[in-house]
Symmetry: C2
Subunit: 232 residues, 2 copies
Amino acid sequence: MRDEAEKDAHKNPHLIEDRIIHAALSGRIAPGERLGEKELSEIFGVSRTLVREAMMRLQARGIVEVSSRRGWFVIEPSVEEARHTIDARRALEVGMLVTLDRASPGMIRALRDHVRAEQKAIASGDRAERSYLLGHFHVCLAETLGNPVLASLLQDLTTRTVLIAALYQSSHDAHESCGEHGEIIDALEKGNSTEAARLMDVHLRHVEKALNYRSAASRLDHLKAALQGSGT
Amino acid sequence: MRDEAEKDAHKNPHLIEDRIIHAALSGRIAPGERLGEKELSEIFGVSRTLVREAMMRLQARGIVEVSSRRGWFVIEPSVEEARHTIDARRALEVGMLVTLDRASPGMIRALRDHVRAEQKAIASGDRAERSYLLGHFHVCLAETLGNPVLASLLQDLTTRTVLIAALYQSSHDAHESCGEHGEIIDALEKGNSTEAARLMDVHLRHVEKALNYRSAASRLDHLKAALQGSGT
DNA sequence: GTTTTAAATCTTGTATGCAACATTCCTTCT
DNA sequence: AGAAGGAATGTTGCATACAAGATTTAAAAC
């Protein structure tokens, strides 16, 4: 196969965004990373105009932000923003499960397939695929429940969470995450939405707990300490 | 004051979006309405480029959609899309209240102020202001709870709901809505988040119940019936 | 009078050009 | 050598130009 990215950004106007979201979910794009318009326009074989339009959409989705005349950057949320994002996500996912009555066998099967894929990626050591699938499980859940609006909202929130995890050096174990996904499905299978919602709540609290909120601040703290500690 | 809208779309790049969202919430822009790029560029005194960028962001937020080489249109959700949107909104708002522990007295005061403003708008017969405030209550609630991410998500979902209500000729009574808002605050004041969540659930079900899902389809049905009924 | 066809008009889709600002690198001065 | 200043470079911000297609209007044929 040849230059993978240059399929046709003209046919599918959302290709650029999709690729960036996918790369972020896979951990191949780090928070704070610069995304130059010219750079992207060359990669996708289109003019800056189309790149710019894609960036505008990604901006509205909270994935990138722009610094005046300096460029586009993948979001680098502060501790406070990170908390708000994860809180919003928890509210949405818990609410989604609480307001659900019953999951059909077909849905359960699709979700089990997804978890199997997660396990496979974990076993094979494919870090990008693992990261992507663990995040995408939540989008998949919303899709499976049949609500594209929820799925779309969750894709954005999940992508932001993955970026937060990268920024704050999440120590969350992939095995544990995958196991929790399985438990949520178990509860759904039994028709116990309330329990599924509770498990989701716990799961997302684990995700947050695994973050090292000091890691980003620590640079500043280190500097401060260094400057106060001894005279130069 | 002179031409109100032409303040400065250069200083605030989000002015165009903000105005369109506000107009939609106020019921001054109907679903299906066409928003021409040239038209808007003249209104805001900028080139089509900036208008286009704003439309891209609004597209990502699910407020407008584009029809190839025909123009931009305010969304006109199908019955199914309408259900999904309201379901998503209910999940988010119920989850938001369920995962909340306690509302401070300051929050309660701010919310009561908002409801008072609603009552005033209802009494004065200002339909646009009334529509805006009844919708904005939900954004206000999220803001008050201190989560800008939730507030932003809710602004978009609420705007879409207002458009849906316009499209499906909602018969929901403003008084009733306002009263339900008050009850939700009462529950919050007593520290009973679960009850607040339940009331919100009921409130949003009322909103949906008031929609006449047949009104949009009826045009087609009428046509069908007319064609079958008698020979031309 | 109605239908078909063609021209004219209008609107978006995409690229490009240029100005404004930020950054970097090099020169110059101390 | 180090600091300061300035030129050179690179990047975005915004406008404009032009092509491609959709819609409407007008005309012509039946």
